[in-house]
Symmetry: C2
Subunit: 265 residues, 2 copies
Amino acid sequence: MENPVGVFDSGVGGLTVLRELVSALPSERFVYLGDTARVPYGGKSAETVTRYAIEIANHLIRTRDIKLLVVACNTASSLALPVLRKIYKIPVVGMVDPCVRRAAALSEKRTIGVIGTLGTVRSGAYEEALRLSVPSARVRSIPCPLLVSLAEEGWTDSPITRAVIAEYLAPFLVDPPDALILGCTHYPVLKGPIREYLGDGTALIDSAEEAARVVDILLSEMQVRRAVAPAGEVEFLVTDDPERFARVGKGFFGQELPDVGSVAL
Amino acid sequence: MENPVGVFDSGVGGLTVLRELVSALPSERFVYLGDTARVPYGGKSAETVTRYAIEIANHLIRTRDIKLLVVACNTASSLALPVLRKIYKIPVVGMVDPCVRRAAALSEKRTIGVIGTLGTVRSGAYEEALRLSVPSARVRSIPCPLLVSLAEEGWTDSPITRAVIAEYLAPFLVDPPDALILGCTHYPVLKGPIREYLGDGTALIDSAEEAARVVDILLSEMQVRRAVAPAGEVEFLVTDDPERFARVGKGFFGQELPDVGSVAL
């Protein structure tokens, strides 16, 4: 089936997920939308984030006829997923369940940490999913709002970033979790300093790989996989200036972004 | 004249300006709008920020019949002021000219620094205004995008904030400016650590006081001052969740915010 898979995020963070999707599903076509005119979602209310997510999903369905939607933003996944699943007939894949499934598989001590934006942590979406899937787990969640700005500033290997990480994550040193969910698509670029601070006893879980696996399974089960040849392609859309997105996004996607188009929502 | 003065910003930063306005003009009525559903403006394009500013101005004029508009956001002032002044009949006061006027009055060595968001610095609005008003000045501008997040996180007296300030402002130590324009309404809450880093030889200029003086003069000259009694009042509106705005805004306004209403744009 030629229709593309739709992927969206508030900005560049979701490119860490797209990168994994493209590598796992090289024959698929993707359309990525970064809502850069309204980024970030992390501190905004459930009502506002849900409204934005619906506008984006409507646009991708109406103009690109996507066959599946990936919400490559943990805040939007935490706040808007149930509503999106109620509205649309196509499958909607979020970031919460993939992370939780991986944490359940990796955590032996059943001590699981979650870090994310204010919106993600306040929503309690991870705690709820973990309670269902790993009832015996002790879960501790910490909002880390500054990490998004640091990742976007490109300070991924700076003493300042290490100090901010120490400030936020200090509570984890008391009773270290053996699995830490990186509950924000910006955080994978900060894996280095986070691992350095927490040590090797804590497995860092990012949603991208597991989400790619879920998309793979869904496309196969629904029998809507694209034929293996020719190779797929990716279209990039943003709601604000394409130039800055391409520049900052490179570090998140892991390679140059080709043409980025702009769209008004 | 009973009509209120309209004041807007992308979020809480403009409350540092409102605070000064209320203190300078206690008999006036004010309506403040924080565009918290789309905050921040600092990294967004001129087109997008101008569109948002027009939507806000339209709303305040249509629903509150404001007699004057204060753009209490340096990014919106830098990017959108000429367009706003062309569209509306009421006077529109921005943050750039008041800062520049004060810098011109205070700087003796004619070495002037400017710090602000990416959008403000890229616009060149301060350089242009300084070139006209202080032609002999040597001007150096540095974008400091992380300072907004640090101010909103409330880390105004943290070693991390001091380290970030040192990282951004180090170029100023080579040839210290004798006046530094705090070209973002968030920065006044960081005056302490900025002064500590640069020393007493650099005067820190924030737009609030001078902007209040300009508004005072305009209202008098236009003969639209409100009668001295009864005391004025302030109405607060936001485009996203009022609760977080009230909580974070307290530190910027210097006192508790009364009822905050919400508005859809």
